[in-house]
């Protein structure tokens, strides 16, 4: 290990505490022992973070960004081999801390106290069996920062600081009792509890709706303004655009481009950065592919565009819950035309997934009906629906759960083919290989099991399985929400390509407005089990009539490289949290 116990930091640094980086990383390497020698996943990266600075480390999964973050708190794993020219933290009162070769005990003094860490999805990142207050208090108790009787007050102050109303009530609740946004704020509060100067956030807004995402990013912006240094790990350049001062783009373990956020976003130099930027879907990308250059071909429209392939008539679904019934759908009507992509956008709980299940006839409607090609569908008995089922197929967010883990890809693809009469084993095998080619997977993968595939590969298998029955309508429920931006771009391009080639009709359900704007011809905006607005996607988003649609649009991150100059990524302004008292670092 280079630098371990190296020169004692000269006192000059202490004088310039304000401009001294909170974190300085020089030539960081992380390697894991592999089958053929060490496998280097981080290859000599360097960066610094100053007080009040937000550095976004951007890259796709496997680029080494999360390993980098974990290495900074000594949690990259027991097998990780870490080496660096310097790994230096400026601690409380400007003390320089060398992070190389720390013992486990000294690491514990760093974690939570010098560096706060926020992971994604607080539902699983907070201990679900403990109260919010206990979770937030833990760093205070672990580092013995306050006498026990002062902890409860401090916890409430922390919750208020990240913009949680009624902190006393929230502190007594459990993570599952809070909304996703409040839960994520609580997770941030627990990372702040040890009063660290450096915060590391690893995909802190992935899995959140756009409006919530914007609020959470605003909390980070406030914390930076209060003097915290912030390392934001994300796969999404659009997220980085909202809060980052500096962006470092990481690929294959190396930083390929770094600089001020505006410069990187407006004038990307490296091909990989340009690819990442181009992969972000939105209204400007409607005419082009996301994962490669060139215009997308115009769709071959059905000669009778008025003929709906799917008609939903005044459908209502009510679920009974402890504490009263919930209207998941409260009278929804829509018509989907042959060959179009119909987008359904809304936040979690808006009823869009229930609508998808009603269309698939997996959920009975309490009222109303669904027609397929003008004939009854939802009202049919299951026996007479079964022969029609191959024509309406679905793709879900995480296909892993819908595959039998013991099955090979071949079995997964042949399963729907077995239902087709008169298909001999040889023909089935040929068809499976054909399906693999359609979704751009190598034929050798037929022998693999779903668990050994990447998220993007799995989604391709799910698409191939859906295509096996030669469907006319594909219900895609959050098909790309679990994927990072570059993989998402490939899957969206694949769907668009398949639609073009086979004249598929897509019912695309998503919480991501960018995805909907990129893909859809027409769109319905859902809220609380109703459609608040519907029409051609250009019209709806050019002149949204409903206030909810406007709110969704406002939360959408914009990228300066593509948007009009006046709409360029405006940095997030002070939030409610900024007005809360005590928003400064008490070190």
């Amino acid at each position: 290990m280079t630098g371990a116990g190296a020169d004692p930091r000269d006192p000059v640094l202490r004088e310039e505490a304000r401009s001294t980086p909170v974190l300085a990383v020089e030539g960081l390497h992380v390697a894991f022992p592999g089958r053929s020698g060490p496998d280097e996943v981080v290859r000599g990266i360097s960066f610094t973070i100053r007080p009040g600075e937000v550095l976004a480390l951007v890259g796709e999964s496997g680029s080494g960004k999360s390993v980098t973050a974990r290495a900074l708190v000594g949690l990259a794993g027991a097998r990780a081999r870490i080496r660096a020219e310097a790994l230096r933290l400026t601690g409380h009162e400007g003390r320089a801390l060398d992070l190389l070769g720390l013992s486990e005990r000294r690491w514990r003094a760093v974690r939570g106290r010098q560096v706060g860490f926020v992971l994604q999805d607080a539902l699983v990142s907070l201990d679900p069996l403990r109260r919010i207050g206990q979770e937030v208090a833990e760093p205070i108790l672990a580092h013995r920062l306050l006498p026990r009787d002062a902890v409860a007050g401090e916890v409430q102050a922390l919750l208020a600081r990240v913009g949680i109303p009624d902190p006393a009530i929230r502190a007594a609740q459990y993570p599952h009792e809070l909304s996703g946004g409040l839960r994520q704020r609580a997770l941030i509060a627990s990372a702040l509890a040890g009063r660290p100067r450096l915060l590391i956030a690893d995909e802190p807004t992935t899995a959140l709706d756009v409006t919530i995402q914007r609020q959470i990013l605003a909390v980070f912006a406030d914390l930076a303004r209060a003097g915290h240094g912030l390392l934001l790990i994300t796969h999404d350049l659009a997220v980085a655009a909202q809060v980052a001062d500096t962006i470092a783009v990481m690929q294959h373990g190396a930083i390929v481009e770094a600089g001020p956020a505006r410069a990187v976003l407006a004038d990307p130099r490296h091909a990989y950065t340009r690819r990442l930027l181009a992969a972000v879907p939105g209204p400007e990308t409607r005419q082009s592919w996301l994962s490669r250059a060139g215009p997308r071909p115009e769709r071959a429209r059905d000669p009778r565009p008025a003929e709906p392939i799917l008609e939903v008539r005044d459908v209502a679904v009510r679920f009974s819950r402890p504490g009263g019934a919930v209207d998941a759908l409260a009278g929804v009507s829509l018509r989907v035309r042959q060959g179009e992509t119909f987008g359904i956008v809304g936040e979690s709980g808006s009823g869009k997934t229930t609508l998808g299940r009603v269309v698939l006839a997996l959920q009975r409607a309490d009222r109303g009906e669904v027609l397929f090609e003008g004939r009854p569908w939802s009202t049919l008995p299951e026996r007479s629906r079964r022969p029609l089922r191959p024509r309406i197929q679905t793709i879900v967010q995480d296909p892993l759960g819908s595959f039998d883990p013991r099955d090979t890809v071949r079995r997964i693809l042949e399963q729907p083919l077995r239902l087709q009469p008169g298909l001999a084993a040889g023909q089935r095998a040929a068809r499976a290989a054909e399906l693999m080619a359609l979704v751009g997977l190598p034929r050798e993968m037929l022998a693999r099991r779903p668990r050994t595939l990447s998220g993007g590969q799995r989604q391709r298998v799910a698409i191939a399985q859906a295509l096996a029955g030669q469907p006319d309508l594909l219900v895609c429920d959050e098909p790309v929400s679990a994927l990072d931006v570059t993989t998402q771009a490939q899957i969206l391009d694949l769907l668009a390509d398949l639609q073009h080639r086979f004249g598929l009709t897509l019912l695309l359900i998503s919480h991501d407005l960018g995805v909907i704007q990129h893909m859809s011809d027409r769109v319905a905006v859902m809220k609380d089990g109703r459609i608040v607005e519907t029409g051609p996607v250009e019209d709806i988003f050019a002149a949204p009539a409903d206030s909810y649609t406007r709110r969704l649009l406002a939360a959408l991150p914009a990228l300066p490289a593509r948007a009009a100059p006046d709409a360029a990524a405006e940095p997030i302004g002070p939030s409610d949290a900024a007005r809360a008292p005590g928003l400064e670092i008490h070190a």
């Binding site: 992971l119 679900p128 833990e138 672990a142 509890a193």
Partner: protein, 321 residues
């Protein structure tokens, strides 16, 4: 959703208590009914079945029995009387001991409770210690401990009993060889009985701990600067306790029902001993009492487990009745 059922209204607690009582009574009623049907299904003279053989009792006693069980009454009346007596804890006289069944059971219950309780506490302690020190570790300790658990699980419990007696009673003379009273007499049988229980509990606890330690929240906690021991004790153990408490409850119900082998090896009295005697001598009233006792024990343990689950996991509280 805010507001656990506990906080909704004051009488909710009363409602829940009444519901639980209803559950207990219906399980006991079902047990009594099955026992009644079983007796009626056995062909032959009911008095002979009750007394464990032909001509065991004289005419006077026979008449008393017929009157007591209402054998001269219609079936419905017999059933109603039988269930009413059974629910009141009145199972009649044990023929073998010439004492009320309830007295026989009460006398045997003392030593059994001591043995079962001591064994359970020991098993929990040993299982916890083994799981906590070895979960998620790759070293030799884990290998040794899980190897030991396998050996213990595949060895019959009386073999341990004999080994312990040979070692500690014959060779070292620390504990009484057989029978006896008080704590010294309890140590060896409790240890022998607890070993397989501890091995099972350790395996389930270790699985639970390892699953919890692999969750994202465990990473969050480590990133707060919390030490490994605190992470295990304060967080992971609670997650592991869900599955382990189910197993512990089942095991406890089992040892409460009598540990015949352990009692025999160590010459102890207890539920196991009277059960085997009752079966051998066809002491039907005593057997029926024992059936009711084990039904009561398992329903009580299951209700306590339900309450315990809700204490452990707040997410289950919403679904509380």
């Amino acid at each position: 959703m805010p507001g656990s059922p506990r906080s909704r209204t004051a009488p909710a607690g009363l409602v829940v208590a009444l519901q639980r009582l209803g559950v207990i009574l219906s399980v006991l009623w079902a047990a009594a009914t099955i026992a009644f049907v079983a007796i009626k299904a056995i062909p032959g003279d009911p008095v002979a079945i009750l007394t464990g053989g032909e001509n065991v009792v004289d005419a006077a006693e026979r008449a008393a029995l017929v009157a007591r069980y209402g054998l001269d009454q219609p079936l419905a009346v017999q059933y109603a009387r039988y269930v009413a007596h059974a629910l009141a804890g009145d199972f009649g006289q044990s023929y073998q001991y010439r004492l009320p069944v309830i007295t026989v059971i009460a006398e045997a219950a003392g030593p059994t409770l001591q043995l079962a309780g001591a064994a359970m506490v020991l098993a929990l302690g040993l299982g916890l210690a083994s799981a906590l020190v070895s979960a998620g570790r790759r070293g030799w300790l884990r290998g040794v401990l899980s190897g030991l658990e396998l050996v213990v699980l595949s060895t019959p419990v009386y073999w341990f009993g004999l080994l312990l007696i040979v070692l500690f009673s014959f060779t070292l003379g620390w504990f009484p060889i057989i029978g006896g009273d008080g704590i010294p007499a309890l140590v060896l049988p409790a240890v022998a009985l607890s070993l397989p229980l501890a091995a099972l509990l350790a395996q389930v606890l270790r699985d639970g701990l390892e699953e919890a330690l692999a969750q994202p929240f465990a990473l969050t906690i480590r990133m707060r600067g919390v030490g490994e021991a605190a992470l295990r004790l304060r967080h992971a153990l609670r997650h592991a306790a869900l599955a382990a408490s189910t197993l512990a409850g089942t095991l406890f119900a089992g040892v409460l029902g009598g540990s015949i082998l352990t009692e025999t090896v160590f010459g102890r009295s207890g539920i196991g001993q009277i059960t085997i005697q009752a079966i051998r001598t066809r002491d039907m009233p005593l057997l029926l009492g024992l059936v009711m006792l084990s039904a009561l024990a398992s329903v009580l343990i299951n209700l306590s487990l339900d309450a315990l689950y809700r204490r452990i996991d707040p997410r289950l509280r919403r679904a509380a009745p």
